[in-house]
Symmetry: C2
Subunit: 192 residues, 2 copies
């Protein structure tokens, strides 16, 4: 994984991938799947993600004030499905059951998920809970970001040059995903 | 276009497509491109979208309280690029320049964009502006939704059975998109 310049961090989520949300507090670590995540600002980079109040992830984020957003791949499809379908409240050994491994980020200790093509270390924005909270929405600042240089170089994704199992996943419904597909380039805009 | 049941409306955005945001007020109509949009709730369905305060679209949404979210296709790539690169403030004839045509939705009058594979008619949620607003975030309820039955049937996308120009677009950077790709199915979760 290579460090991504913070001004390019939004591009890791710009194409709308399904993500894994990492959280940790007081010796507990969890990872859940989330299809509802997006960039919120460029620079300082910020993100928005929906995390249900009933989840262990939400408890850990609310307690720690930090989270990670990770972009999983086709190779991780079964882990993503398992992480989305199993609660860390019911299963304290959820990560082992899901075959998900993590390492703690240096600054905040949030778990970064192995095998993902992007990892964003994030801190929850203060004073956003009274409106965002009722909608289960978490707004956070990106404080560090990394990407797999086989698919993200020079500040953007290049999936077409890499093995297909490194493509991002985009959840449709009930365990059915699409992989991100082929490049499409638009005409430049004549803006005169 | 066929009506989509409101309980399935979130699925139109679940896989993270770039969208076109439609707005209208007092005789002005605009359409802009936005990569930062996502579902916010299932049922009642809600969405979140980032719309910069400096845009005409934001002025029209703030004045009317309504907006549309439309999912464009590979066939519309140049229109999406143009709608993202040209301001309706600078060009009152933006829609004609962008070769975008719309029709007014029955209930609210918001413009629905022709040629899109999904259209969501939305009403801004009250009392969300004081936190969401500073982050250029609009939270809205979906009050009606439609999809192209060539690619969305039985409550979910089926791109693999349709012409490739009907695939959704996912913006990377600077006019470079990926089309949504091939289906990937995960193993069911053993949740015992």
């Amino acid at each position: 994984m290579q460090t991504v310049e913070l001004k390019h961090a939004y591009r890791l989520l710009n194409h709308g991938p399904t993500v894994l949300v990492g959280s940790a507090h007081a010796g507990k670590t969890n990872v859940m799947a989330a299809a509802w995540a997006m960039p919120l600002d460029f620079d300082t980079p910020k993100i928005a993600v929906v995390v249900d109040k009933a989840t262990l992830t939400r408890e850990l984020i609310d307690a720690s004030g930090v989270l990670s957003i990770n972009v999983p791949t086709v190779a991780l499809k079964d882990q993503v499905m398992a992480a989305g379908g199993m609660s860390g409240k019911d299963h304290p050994d959820k990560l082992a059951r899901c075959k998900i491994s993590t390492q703690a980020a240096a600054h905040t200790g949030v778990p970064l998920v192995h095998g993902c093509i992007a990892q964003l270390e994030c801190r929850v924005l203060p004073a956003t809970t009274h409106v965002a909270g009722p909608h289960d929405l978490i707004l956070a600042e990106v404080i560090a970001a990394w990407a797999d240089e086989r698919v993200f170089t020079a500040g953007r994704w290049h999936f077409e040059n890499a093995p297909p199992e490194l493509r991002s996943l985009h959840h449709v419904a009930g365990g059915h995903f699409y992989a991100i597909g082929e490049p499409v380039s638009a005409l430049p805009v004549a803006n005169a």
